[in-house]
Structure formats: structure tokens, C-alpha cells
């Protein structure tokens, strides 16, 4: 090829500085552009508008007797709704915060003290704790027990023992009237 190509004259020092600048500037713009172009792809994997739209459910709680629980589905997740007994409420309120791994007063977890509404997903790795049905094991603190890796929750759904780091989450909900709640 040497016989056809004309050899470029060797770069002067000034030229080299200019080339370095152009190289860095072009690479920077290129990298930012690539990053911006990647974003639509990444964001397309986030929840879509229709998934976000099914975000609230209304539940009639009148059939739930004292000491009974039901499980409803909200955003594909189980939500535990329990009408607690006097005794359960008393136990939940009397625990001192210093005994808790994730300290939170019972009063901060409920809107009406007999109604406990929580997301029924273990905060460890996402199993569904047992304790909703009468025959289920309820763990050492009389609330819920996650069989996957042995997390014990109390009658306020707070983590008391086992690998889970946090209390069961409380979803956003409002009482529409005495017997209906709207979750989400």
C-alpha cells in the first residue's frame, strides 16, 4: 500500500495536543450518548403503565370475626387482614421497644387497633408466613411463622426472631366506612 497512499506529515506538538483533546471530547460525548441510548432499554423492564394501574383493591371486612384472618390479593401480593382479639392487642401493645429488632410501636402499625392490615410477605426472602389459618403454626410470639428460614413475627407482625431484618410491611390503606377498606 505504501506506493499508493500518501504519507501524512508527522504531527507537530500543537497537533498532538489538539488530537488528544478531540479524542477525549469525542469519547466523552460517545459514552454519554451510549448511556442515554441504553436508558429506554433498561426502563422498558420497569413496571409498565397497565401493571401500575391495577394498584388499588376494595375489601369488605364485615365477615371477618374477631380472631379471624383473611388473605386478599393486592398488586399480585397477599395482604393479611386480621381482626385481632383483645388479648393479642394487649400483648402487642405491652412489648417494650427495646426488645424489638425493628422497633415500631403497635399504634404506628394500625389505624384501628383491632384491625391489622399487612403485606403477607416475609421480609427475609419473600415467602408467605404461616398463621392465617386456625391450624397453622404461629411461631413463638403467637403471630406468624415463616417456614422458609424460620422467622417469627408477633401479633403486630413485627419480626422477633429469625433471619428476617424488618417487620411485615403495612400497605397504604384507608377505611372507606366501618366495614370497607381500600388498599393502595
Amino acid at each position: 500500500m505504501t506506493d499508493t497512499a500518501t504519507t501524512a506529515p508527522g504531527p507537530s506538538e500543537e497537533d498532538e495536543g489538539r488530537r488528544d483533546f478531540l479524542l477525549i471530547a469525542t469519547s466523552t460525548v460517545g459514552a454519554i450518548g451510549a448511556g442515554l441510548a441504553a436508558w429506554p432499554f433498561i426502563d422498558s423492564m420497569n413496571p409498565a403503565a397497565d401493571v401500575l394501574a391495577i394498584s388499588s383493591s376494595e375489601v369488605d371486612i364485615s365477615p371477618i370475626e374477631e380472631g379471624q384472618s383473611i388473605t386478599v390479593v393486592w398488586r399480585g401480593k397477599p395482604v393479611f387482614i386480621r381482626q385481632r382479639t383483645e388479648e393479642e392487642i394487649k400483648i402487642a401493645q405491652s412489648v417494650s421497644l427495646s426488645d424489638l429488632k425493628d422497633p415500631q410501636a403497635d399504634g404506628d402499625r394500625v389505624q384501628k387497633s383491632q384491625w391489622l392490615v399487612m403485606i403477607g410477605i416475609c421480609t427475609h426472602l419473600g415467602c408467605i408466613p404461616l398463621g392465617q389459618k386456625t391450624g397453622d403454626p404461629k411461631g413463638e410470639f403467637g403471630g406468624w411463622f415463616c417456614p422458609c428460614h424460620g422467622s417469627h413475627y408477633d401479633t403486630s407482625g413485627r419480626i422477633r426472631k429469625g433471619p428476617a431484618p424488618e417487620n411485615l410491611y403495612i400497605p397504604p390503606y384507608v377505611f372507606l366506612d366501618d366495614t370497607t377498606i381500600k388498599i393502595g
Binding site: 433498561i42 423492564m45 420497569n46 413496571p47 409498565a48 401493571v51 388473605t71 390479593v73 398488586r75 399480585g76 401480593k77 397477599p78 427475609h124 426472602l125 419473600g126 415467602c127 408467605i128 417456614p147 422458609c148 428460614h149 424460620g150 433471619p163 431484618p165
Partner: protein
């Protein structure tokens, strides 16, 4: 080296695309191979064959599979009952996955025993670690596709691991799911990844073999070949040995396919996924058990890091630490044959991996928690304490002068090991 063909068609092709000489230089008479390779050197090519079987059976399964939460489970049942030979395709694919891991784990232990990760093969070894990671990802998303109870809950537990990452963990999990739980968007993307990843694995295998062919195979003595008397051509010597090994392996593989097709599986995965009911005992597939045991070994918070995050760090770290093995081992001697202390530590490591696998398969209760913690301790100590120390303190054994010298007469008594 160009081949001189008489046949005008072959000659025409070879002149324009030297594919025949490429094949001959890669797996033919012009690829020199150490003369003393034993059967542990069969497992790489076997893994390649199984990758091929998985890709072919997978593509045919995909023709009848539906990636939708309402149809996935029944589409797999339809493959099993109604599609002609669907049961065979699926059992080949399912058991092929397990075989792939058996072969690759043996292949890796082979590399560790004979020091194949040492210079100049560090990068070859590291590409292998990336292959293992890609295989794990493929198998994990593949197991979700039949949408049984274990599919669903395995996916839930493993994707939830990312929630341990501080601050951005929850957003990452939502992003992985494409929703607020493992659901239809998750199944769809997992199918897309499951179709894609095997081809990435294939590409990595090409690079792996490219690196292999630069410095050629290590060998059971771990010494560099000194001259042509140490080598034999790949074809016909190792083509025939690989084919023989393949026949033996196929008997093993097909025995499971035809006589115990669900041996490696979980009965719970024949129950359709139910997001409202967790199975009492969630176990991953057998090839993840040692890593699952490491994940669960961390039960207390320390150094300001919660136990859950430690578990995740430990689990990923247990694979990633393999990347550093070439530099953790300071010994210049490759083969464990000449390294008595290393050999002992290696076999304990091997047994320890089985212990971890057992612990991972059991519910975490009582004594097993402690056992899992000690085994996890040995796993990491092996890499960061034992290997570096042994490689510095070990008395060196006399290495044979050459491969030919060592294999043409029985290995001298100084190695303490006859052949």
C-alpha cells in the same frame, strides 16, 4: 498450515476460506497435544456436546412452549403428553442441564487438582469462571419456565436476594420483576434471557478454546512439554479417546433420561405455581445447593452489615473468588501430584463442597446450621489462607525432566506415586 488438496473444489474453497486447515490445526493432525492426558481431560469436550444437546432440544421445546403465566404450566404438560416425543425432548433438556453441571464441576476440580489455572492459562481459567456464571444464570431462568411451585418460589427467593443491596435494592427487585411480584412480565423476560444466554455461553466457549489453543493443554504432570517427543497429534489419538468417553457418558446420561427422568427434579414442581401458598421446604436444584448453604450460613449481623447482605456477599463471593485463584496460589509447581500438602487440602476442599451441598438440601435447623458455618469457613479459608500458605511453605518435590521421560518408564520412586 495450508493443506494442498488435489480435489479442485476443496482446493478452490481452501484458497478463499482456509476452513479445512483451520479445522486441521484445531482438532486435527496438526494440533499437538501432550501425550499423557488422562480421562479427566475428556470433560471439556463432553460439556461442549451437552451444550449442543441443550440448544437443540431447547429450540424444539420452544416451538411448543408458551411464556404466559396462564399457559406455561399446561404448555409443558402438553409437551409431556400430546406433542410427539415431547417427553423425550423435555427429559433430555432437564437432565441435560444437570449433566452440564456435573461435567463442568468435574472439569473445574480437574483444573484445580492439576494446576491448570496457573500461568500462562490464567485467562483461560477466568473465562471458565464466567462460563460458570452464565450457566448458572441460564439454568436459574430456565427452571422458572415450567411455572411450577418450585419455579415460582425459587424465583421469588433468589430475586429477593437483590433487595439486600442498600438503598437501591428494592428498586432493582421491582425492575427485575417488571412488577410488584414474580408475575407475567417476569416469566416473559426470563424466557427471552433463557433463549439468549446459551448463545452467549457458546460465544464464551469459542473464546475459551481460542485461549486454550494458544498455550495448549496442561497435563497430569503439570510440566511444560520440552519437544516433539512429548506431544502427539490431536487426531486420531484424542478424537478417538473423546468419542469413547462420549459413549460411556451417553450411557450414564440416557440412563437417567429413560429410567429415572425425575431423579434430579422436585415433585413440587409438578404443582402449578401458586403465589398465595409457599411450599414448606424450598430447595434450589442440586447444582446450586453448596452456594445456597453459603447464603444461609450467615445468621448474625456483624461489621455493620446485616446478615442478609452478608449471605448475598458470601454466595456471590464464593464463585467470584475463583477468579483470583491463579494469584492466590504462589506455587510454581502445577500438578498436585508433586504437592503433598496441597493435595491434602484439595481433597478436604472437595469433601467440604459435598458437605455444603448436603447442608444446602436440608432445612436449616440445629446442628446443620453450625455445620454449614464451619463448611463455609473452610471454603473461604481454603482460598485466602490455606492455598497461599501451603504454596509458600510446602517442600518441593523433584519434577520429572520431561513428559516423555516420565511416561516412557514408570515414574521414579521420588514422587512416591507409581503409575
Amino acid at each position: 498450515m495450508a493443506i494442498e488438496f488435489k480435489n479442485p473444489v476443496l482446493k478452490w474453497i481452501e484458497y478463499r476460506l482456509p476452513i479445512f486447515s483451520f479445522i486441521n490445526d484445531s482438532v486435527g493432525t496438526n494440533y499437538p497435544t501432550p501425550r499423557n492426558l488422562n480421562y479427566w481431560w475428556n470433560f471439556g469436550s463432553l460439556a461442549g456436546v451437552v451444550l449442543g444437546i441443550l440448544i437443540v432440544t431447547g429450540i424444539f421445546l420452544a416451538m411448543n412452549y408458551t411464556a404466559n403465566v396462564d399457559y406455561a404450566f399446561i404448555s409443558v404438560e402438553r409437551i409431556m403428553r400430546d406433542v410427539n416425543y415431547g417427553w423425550l425432548l423435555r427429559y433430555l433438556h432437564m437432565n441435560g442441564g444437570s449433566m452440564f453441571f456435573i461435567l463442568v464441576y468435574i472439569h473445574m476440580f480437574r483444573g484445580m487438582y492439576y494446576g491448570s489455572y496457573k500461568a500462562p492459562r490464567e485467562l483461560l481459567w477466568m473465562i471458565g469462571v464466567f462460563l460458570l456464571l452464565a450457566m448458572m444464570a441460564t439454568a436459574f431462568v430456565g427452571y422458572v419456565l415450567p411455572w411450577g411451585q418450585m419455579s415460582f418460589w425459587g424465583a421469588t427467593v433468589i430475586t429477593n436476594l437483590f433487595s439486600a443491596i442498600p438503598l437501591i435494592g428494592e428498586s432493582i427487585v421491582t425492575w427485575l420483576w417488571g412488577g410488584f411480584s414474580v408475575d407475567n412480565p417476569t416469566l416473559n423476560r426470563f424466557f427471552a434471557f433463557h433463549y439468549l444466554l446459551p448463545f452467549i455461553i457458546f460465544g464464551l466457549v469459542v473464546v475459551h478454546i481460542w485461549a486454550l489453543h494458544v498455550h495448549k493443554s496442561n497435563n497430569p504432570l503439570g510440566i511444560d512439554p520440552k519437544g516433539p517427543e512429548d506431544m502427539i497429534p490431536f487426531h486420531p489419538y484424542y478424537t478417538i479417546k473423546d468419542i469413547f468417553g462420549m459413549a460411556v457418558f451417553m450411557v450414564f446420561f440416557l440412563w437417567f433420561v429413560f429410567f429415572a427422568p425425575d431423579f434430579f427434579g422436585e415433585a413440587d414442581n409438578y404443582i402449578e405455581a401458586n403465589p398465595m401458598v409457599t411450599p414448606t421446604h424450598i430447595v434450589p436444584e442440586w447444582y446450586f445447593l453448596p452456594f445456597y448453604a453459603i447464603l444461609r450460613a450467615f445468621t448474625v449481623d456483624f461489621l455493620w452489615i446485616p446478615a442478609k447482605l452478608w449471605g448475598v456477599i458470601g454466595m456471590f463471593g464464593s464463585v467470584l473468588i475463583l477468579l483470583f485463584l491463579p494469584w492466590l496460589d504462589r506455587s510454581k509447581v502445577r500438578s498436585a501430584k508433586f504437592r503433598p500438602y496441597y493435595r491434602m487440602a484439595f481433597w478436604i476442599f472437595f469433601a467440604n463442597s459435598l458437605v455444603l451441598g448436603y447442608v444446602g438440601s436440608q432445612p436449616p435447623e440445629g446442628f446443620l446450621i453450625t455445620l454449614g458455618q464451619w463448611a463455609t469457613g473452610y471454603y473461604f479459608a481454603y482460598f485466602v489462607i490455606i492455598i497461599p500458605l501451603v504454596s509458600l511453605l510446602e517442600p518441593a518435590r523433584v519434577l520429572p525432566d520431561s513428559i516423555a521421560q516420565a511416561v516412557m518408564k514408570p515414574v521414579a520412586a521420588e514422587t512416591g506415586e507409581g503409575r
